[in-house]
C-alpha cells in the first residue's frame, strides 16, 4: 500500500471546498451531497489506512519526495489515524445531517467552511511538521469563525469575535514557540525536535512549552483559555457545535498531547516535563481539574441546551488533559479513549439537540419540556448520547473514565484529591443531563413546529450505534487504543519511523 496517497485526505476536501461555491449555483442541495461525499471518502479512506497501519505498523507519507527532516511529512500511525478517522466521522455525520436540514442563505459557503475546518483538523492530527501544523491551525480557526458567524444572530458575531481574538493571540503565541524552537534547533520537523529537545536549555524550553500551551489550549477548550466557549456555542447552529466540540476540540487536545509528550517530553517512556520551575505535568493536571470543576458547575446553572453541552464539552476536555498530565500508559489509554468517546457522544448530543431545537423552535430546556413524549426516538437517542458522556456502564464513556480514575488512583498523592474533585464534578454532570432527560419527558403539551428529517435520524442512529457498540464490546477498540497510548507514552517509535533511525539518547 502506498501510504503517500494519504495526502488525498487533505487534497480531496480542499479541492471540493473551493468547487462548492460553483456547484452551489446548480443547486444548494447538490452542494451538500458533494460535501457529504467528500467527507465520506475521507472517513472510509482513513479508516482503511487505520486498519492497515494497525496491522503493518506506522508509516510516513512524504510530500514532494523531500525526505524528513527536510520536507513536510504526514505521520500515519494508529494514534494519528484513529483521531483523523474520528474527526472525519464527526464531519461526515454533520454533513449527513445537513442533507436533510433546511437550507440557509449562503448555504454552499457554509459547506465550504465545514469542509475546510474538517480538513484542517484532520491535517493537524496527521502532519509531522510543526509549521505545517501551525498553518492548519490557522485555517482551522478561520473556518471556525466562519462556522460560528454563519448563523447571523447578534450573539454569533459576538462569539465569533471573541473566538477570533482568542485564536489570534493563541496562534501568535504558537508562532513564538515555533520560532524559538526553530531558532534553537534549526528544524521544523516534529520528530527531530522530539529527538533533540534536550539540547534546548531549560528556561527556553519552559517558555516554548508555555507558548505552545497558550496556543493549543484555546482550541482544546481548557480553562482559562476557553472563555470564548459559551458565546461561540450559543451563537452557532447546534449541529455546527458538533464540529466545534468533536472536530476542533479533538484536534486541539490531540495537538496538545502530541506537542507535550512527543516533542517536549524529556525522558523516553516517562514523560516528566520539568523545565526549571515549570512542571508541566502539574500545570496540565491543575488546568484539567479546574476546567472540569468550573465547566460542570457552570453547566449546572444554564438553561440553553447548547450552552449546557458547551460547558460539558469543556469539562470532558479537562478530563482528557488531566489524563495527559498524569502521563502513565494507563492514563494515556484512558485519555485517548475518552477523547474518542467524547467526540462521538457529543456529536450525537449536538445533532439531536439541533433536531429538538428545530422541532420546538427554542433552545431553552424549560420550553423543550414534553418533547420526549411527542418524539420518543429522538429523546431516547439523546439519552444514549448523554449516558455515553456521563459514563453509565455499558455506554462508551464508562470504560474511558474507568481508566482515568485508575490512573489517578495508581499515581496516588495529590492525584487522589484531583480525581475526587473530578468525580464530584461528575455528580453535577449526571444531574444536569438527567434533568434535561427528565424535562423532555415532562407530561406537558408542546407544540411541534417542524418535522424531523430522515437524514438527521440516520446520523444520530449511526452515532448511537457506535456508542452502544463501544460500550458493550470495548475490546473491539482495545488494540488500537493500546497502541495509540503506547505511541504517546514512548516517543521512540515516532522518531525512528520518521527519521529512519532508532538512535535516541
Amino acid at each position: 500500500m502506498n501510504t503517500n496517497y494519504a495526502l488525498l485526505l487533505v487534497g480531496i476536501p480542499l479541492t471540493t471546498a473551493f468547487l462548492l461555491p460553483i456547484v452551489g449555483l446548480a443547486g444548494k442541495k447538490l452542494a451538500r451531497w458533494i460535501a457529504f461525499a467528500a467527507l465520506a471518502f475521507n472517513f472510509v479512506y482513513s479508516l482503511g489506512l487505520l486498519l492497515y497501519v494497525n496491522s503493518a505498523g506506522p508509516a510516513v507519507a512524504v510530500i514532494g519526495n523531500w525526505k524528513p527532516p527536510f520536507g513536510i511529512n504526514f505521520y500515519l500511525s494508529p494514534l494519528s489515524l484513529f483521531f483523523a478517522t474520528t474527526i472525519y466521522f464527526v464531519g461526515m455525520i454533520v454533513a449527513l445531517y445537513r442533507i436533510g436540514a433546511e437550507t440557509i442563505p449562503g448555504d454552499e459557503k457554509l459547506s465550504t467552511a465545514i469542509l475546510l475546518t474538517v480538513m484542517a483538523a484532520g491535517a493537524v492530527v496527521l502532519t509531522g511538521d510543526i509549521f505545517n501544523m501551525f498553518v492548519f491551525l490557522e485555517i482551522l480557526s478561520i473556518g471556525t469563525v466562519i462556522l460560528v458567524a454563519s448563523r447571523g444572530a447578534g450573539i454569533s458575531f459576538r462569539g465569533a469575535f471573541k473566538y477570533i481574538v482568542f485564536a489570534g493571540i493563541g496562534t501568535g503565541a504558537l508562532l513564538f514557540a515555533i520560532g524559538f524552537a526553530y531558532g534553537t534547533l534549526g528544524t521544523l520537523n516534529m520528530a527531530e525536535i522530539g529527538l533533540r529537545v534536550t539540547e534546548i536549555n531549560f528556561a527556553v524550553a519552559g517558555f516554548i512549552a508555555l507558548m505552545f500551551a497558550a496556543g493549543l489550549l484555546v482550541e482544546a477548550e481548557i480553562f482559562p483559555f476557553n472563555l470564548w466557549l459559551p458565546d461561540a456555542y450559543e451563537g452557532s447552529f447546534a449541529h455546527i457545535n458538533a464540529l466545534l466540540s468533536g472536530v476542533v476540540g479533538t484536534a486541539g487536545v490531540y495537538a496538545t498531547a502530541r506537542i507535550f509528550l512527543t516533542l517536549l517530553g524529556i525522558k523516553v517512556s516517562d514523560y516528566v516535563m520539568f523545565y526549571g520551575k515549570f512542571n508541566f505535568n502539574n500545570i496540565l493536571i491543575v488546568l484539567g481539574v479546574l476546567t472540569v470543576l468550573l465547566g460542570e458547575i457552570a453547566a449546572l446553572t444554564q438553561k440553553n441546551i447548547k450552552k449546557i453541552l458547551a460547558y460539558s464539552s469543556a469539562a470532558q476536555m479537562g478530563i482528557v488533559l488531566f489524563a495527559i498530565g498524569i502521563g502513565t500508559h494507563t492514563a494515556l489509554a484512558g485519555g485517548v479513549f475518552h477523547l474518542f468517546n467524547h467526540a462521538v457522544s457529543k456529536a450525537l448530543l449536538f445533532v439531536a439537540a439541533s433536531m429538538m431545537i428545530h422541532k420546538a423552535g427554542t433552545a431553552d430546556i424549560d420550553e423543550l419540556a414534553g418533547l420526549g413524549r411527542k418524539s420518543r426516538t429522538l429523546a431516547l437517542l439523546f439519552g444514549v448520547g448523554a449516558f455515553g458522556v456521563i459514563g453509565i456502564p455499558m455506554f462508551n464513556g464508562f470504560w474511558s473514565k474507568m481508566y482515568v480514575v485508575k490512573a489517578a488512583v495508581e499515581r496516588g498523592g495529590w492525584n487522589f484529591l484531583a480525581v475526587a474533585v473530578i468525580l464530584g464534578a461528575a455528580l453535577a454532570e449526571v444531574f444536569y443531563y438527567f434533568r434535561i432527560l427528565f424535562k423532555l419527558f415532562n407530561p406537558v403539551d408542546i407544540e411541534i413546529k417542524n418535522r424531523g428529517n430522515l437524514a438527521g435520524y440516520l446520523a444520530i442512529f449511526a452515532l448511537a450505534a457506535v456508542i452502544l457498540w463501544v460500550g458493550i464490546n470495548p475490546s473491539g477498540l482495545g488494540g488500537i487504543i493500546n497502541s495509540a497510548a503506547g505511541e504517546l507514552f514512548d516517543k521512540s517509535t515516532y522518531i525512528s519511523t520518521v527519521l529512519g533511525t532508532g538512535v535516541l539518547q
Binding site: K162, L294, A298, M402, L427, I481
Partner: protein, 629 residues
C-alpha cells in the same frame, strides 16, 4: 446460565417497550412471567455453591475486566427472596397499572431493574457489582420520576446521594485493585487484602472502608444519608414504593454482609488494634450510627402526617436496627441482621402495598383526610394490620423473630446502651404504627369516601400471599434461618442452633410455634367470649363520638370527628428545639453550588476585553512564576 437470564431481560424489555400503550396488560404480565422464570431458575440452583461464570469484556493496559457471577449461600438467598417479593409486587402492578398513564417507561425500566437486582446479588467481582449498581441507580431514578415534577425533586436526593456513594466506591475499587497482591476485582481477594492492610496502615484501610461504606450506606439511607427515603419512597409510583422500600434499600446492607463485615471479622480475629467487647472500634462506631439512624427514623416517622412518608421513615428506622445488628459481627448479630433484612422486605413491602391499595381507591396520602376504611377495604386492612404487627415485632408475625435475635445479639455481646437505643426506637415504632392504623383504617369514615370499594381481586392476591408469609415465618422462623445459617457458616462463623420452630441463643430459647400458639389461643378465647357475651347493639360509626350531643351546636362537621391531624403534637413539641436538619443541609449545599455556577458563567459571559485580559493575564502570570528564581 446467569448471563442468559440477564440477556433475556433485554429482550423482555424490548418487547415491553414496543407493545405500546394499548396493550398494558401484556407488558405487565410479561414482567410477572419473567420474574416467575427467574425465581424458578434461582430456586433450582440451591446448593450449587461452587458455581462460577466468567466472561472477559475488556482488557487494556494490563487491566482485565470480566463479567463474573457466582452462587454462594449469601448470593442465592438474597437473589431468590428479592426476586420472589418482586414477583408478588408485580402481580399487584398488573391491575394497578391498567389505569396509569406513564406505565410504559416504568414497566420497561423495571424489567431492567429486576435484572440488575439479580446481577447485584450474583456479581462475583467489583466491576460486575459496580455495573449492576449503576444500572440499578439510573433505572430506578427514571422509575421514580418519569417526568413528574414532585418526584423529580424527591428523586434527586436519592440519586445524588447514590451517585456520590457510587463514585466513592469507584475510587475504593481502584484503590483495592492497586493493593499489593490483588491486581483483580475479586471480592474475596480484596477482603483479605484490606484486612492485611489494616495491620500495616489502619488509616489507609480505614479510608478504603469509609469509601466503600459511603457507597453502601448512602444506598441504604443510614445516617447521615437518611433524608432521601422520605422523599423518594413517598413520591415514587405507588406500586414501586414497596420495591424501593422493601428491596432496594437493602442493597447497601447486602454490601455490608458481603464485604465490610468479613473484613471486620478478619480484623477482629487478627487481634490488631483496639476492640470493644470483641468488636473493632470502627465497627462499634458504625453500630452506633445504626442505632442513631433507628432513633432518628422513628422520631421522624412519629411526627409525620403523610402515610407514605411515615412508612419511609419507618424503613429508615429498620435499616438502623439491621445495621446495628450486622456491625456487632457475632453469629447472632449477623443472623438477626440478615433475618430482619428478609422480614422487613416482606412486611414493609406489604405495608406499602396496602398503602398503594388505599391510594388506588382514595387518591389520598394525607392521613387526616382518611379514616374508617377497615370495613370498606377488609383485605387491605388485614394486610396493613398484619404488616404493622410484624413491624412492631409482636408475635406471631415474622418481625418478632428477627427482633428477638437482634436483642439477643446486643445483650449477649454486652452492649446495654445500644440495646437501649434500639429499644427506644422499637417502642417508638408502636406509636407511629398504631397512629397509621388508626388514622387510615379506624376512626370515622369521611363522607367523601363513603363509596370506596375494596381493590380488585388481582391486587388482593399478593396481599393475601403476604399475610400468610408473614405468619409462616413468624411461626416457623427456622425455614428462613436454615439458609441464613449457611450464609453465616460460609463467612467462617458458627451458625446459631435452630430447629424449624425454635431459636436458641446463649441467654434463652424461644419456641416460636408455642408463642404463636399462645397468641392464637388468646384470640380464640377472646372470640369465644365475644360469642357467649351479652347481646350487643350496633350503632352507626359516627354515633359513639358525640356522647349524645348534637355536634352541629359546636360548628363541627362529620369530617372533623376523625382525630388524626397533628396526632402527636405534644410529643413533637418536646423535641421541637432540635434544629438539626440534614435535608436542609443538602439543600444549602445545592444552592451554594448554583450560586457558584452563576458566578462562573458570568465570568464566561464577560465582554471580550475582560476575557482577553484573563487569558493574557494567565500566560503572563505563568511566565513570571517560571521566571523568578
Amino acid at each position: 446460565m446467569i448471563l442468559n437470564w440477564l440477556t433475556v431481560s433485554l429482550g423482555v424489555a424490548l418487547v415491553a417497550l414496543f407493545v405500546g400503550k394499548r396493550a398494558k396488560i401484556i407488558r405487565w404480565t410479561l414482567f410477572a412471567l419473567y420474574l416467575t422464570f427467574l425465581s424458578w431458575m434461582l430456586w433450582t440452583t440451591y446448593g450449587m455453591w461452587d458455581y462460577r461464570e466468567l466472561y472477559p469484556i475488556f482488557s487494556l493496559a494490563g487491566v482485565n475486566f470480566y463479567l463474573s457471577f457466582s452462587i454462594t449461600p449469601l448470593r442465592w438467598f438474597f437473589a431468590l427472596f428479592t426476586t420472589v417479593i418482586n414477583l408478588v409486587i408485580a402481580i399487584f402492578s398488573i391491575r394497578k397499572n391498567l389505569e396509569e398513564n406513564d406505565e410504559l417507561g416504568i414497566g420497561t425500566l423495571w424489567i431492567l431493574l429486576a435484572a440488575s437486582n439479580l446481577m447485584i446479588f450474583v456479581a462475583n467481582d467489583w466491576i460486575t457489582l459496580f455495573i449492576a449498581w449503576e444500572i440499578m441507580t439510573w433505572t430506578s431514578y427514571f422509575i421514580i420520576t418519569p417526568g413528574w415534577k414532585n418526584s423529580f425533586r424527591a428523586a434527586n436526593y436519592y440519586f445524588l446521594l447514590s451517585m456520590f456513594g457510587a463514585y466513592s466506591m469507584l475510587i475504593a475499587i481502584w484503590w483495592m485493585h492497586a493493593l499489593p497482591g490483588v491486581n483483580s476485582f475479586d471480592i474475596s481477594a480484596t477482603i483479605s487484602a484490606v484486612a492485611e492492610l489494616w495491620v500495616k496502615s489502619p488509616f489507609k484501610a480505614g479510608m478504603i472502608l469509609a469509601l466503600v461504606l459511603a457507597g453502601f450506606l448512602s444506598k441504604s439511607a443510614v445516617f447521615p444519608f437518611h433524608p432521601w427515603p422520605a422523599e423518594a419512597h413517598a413520591e415514587a409510583p405507588d406500586d414501586f414504593s414497596p420495591y424501593l422500600s422493601g428491596i432496594m434499600i437493602k442493597y447497601g446492607l447486602y454490601g455490608v454482609v458481603l464485604f465490610v463485615a468479613p473484613v471486620f471479622i478478619k480484623i477482629a480475629h487478627s487481634e490488631t488494634g483496639s476492640t470493644i467487647n470483641g468488636v473493632p472500634v470502627y465497627s462499634y462506631i458504625l453500630a452506633w450510627i445504626g442505632a442513631i439512624t433507628a432513633v432518628v427514623g422513628t422520631y421522624r416517622a412519629i411526627i409525620e402526617n403523610d402515610m407514605k412518608r411515615l412508612a419511609a421513615w419507618s424503613t429508615v428506622a429498620n435499616v438502623g436496627y439491621i445495621a446495628t445488628a450486622l456491625f456487632i459481627l457475632t453469629p447472632l448479630g449477623i443472623t438477626g441482621g440478615i433475618f430482619h433484612i428478609f422480614n422487613h422486605a416482606i412486611f414493609k413491602g406489604m405495608i406499602f402495598l396496602a398503602l398503594a391499595a388505599v391510594k388506588f381507591r382514595t387518591h389520598e396520602r394525607q392521613m387526616h383526610r382518611l379514616g374508617g376504611l377497615a370495613y370498606k377495604m377488609p383485605i387491605t386492612f388485614l394486610t396493613f394490620l398484619t404488616g404493622i404487627i410484624a413491624a412492631a415485632g409482636i408475635p406471631p408475625m415474622n418481625g418478632y423473630a428477627s427482633k428477638w435475635l437482634i436483642y439477643q445479639a446486643l445483650l449477649v455481646s454486652k452492649f446495654p446502651f445500644l440495646t437501649l437505643m434500639i429499644f427506644v426506637a422499637s417502642t417508638g415504632a408502636f406509636m407511629y404504627l398504631f397512629r397509621a392504623l388508626h388514622s387510615i383504617f379506624l376512626g370515622q369514615l369521611p363522607e367523601r369516601l363513603s363509596d370506596v370499594k375494596e381493590v380488585p381481586i388481582i391486587m388482593q392476591i399478593p396481599m393475601i400471599i403476604g399475610i400468610l408469609t408473614m405468619m409462616f415465618f413468624g411461626v416457623f422462623p427456622g425455614y428462613a434461618l436454615k439458609p441464613i445459617g449457611e450464609i453465616v457458616s460460609s463467612m467462617g462463623l458458627t451458625p446459631i442452633r435452630t430447629t424449624p420452630t425454635t431459636m436458641f441463643s446463649v441467654l434463652s430459647v424461644v419456641d416460636a410455634t408455642k408463642v404463636g400458639g399462645m397468641f392464637g389461643l388468646s384470640f380464640l378465647i377472646a372470640f369465644v367470649l365475644f360469642l357467649v357475651g351479652k347481646k350487643r347493639r350496633y350503632v352507626d360509626m359516627l354515633d359513639n363520638y358525640t356522647a349524645g350531643q348534637n355536634p352541629k351546636d359546636f360548628g363541627l362537621t362529620t369530617e372533623m370527628y376523625h382525630f388524626a391531624y397533628k396526632f402527636y403534637e405534644p410529643f413533637a413539641n418536646m423535641f421541637s428545639n432540635i434544629k438539626i436538619n440534614f435535608k436542609k443541609m443538602y439543600d444549602v449545599i445545592a444552592k451554594d453550588f448554583n450560586l457558584f455556577g452563576e458566578w462562573i458563567s458570568s465570568l464566561f459571559d464577560s465582554p471580550t476585553i475582560v476575557s482577553t485580559m484573563v487569558f493574557v493575564g494567565t500566560i503572563v502570570i505563568l511566565i513570571i512564576a517560571g521566571w523568578s528564581g
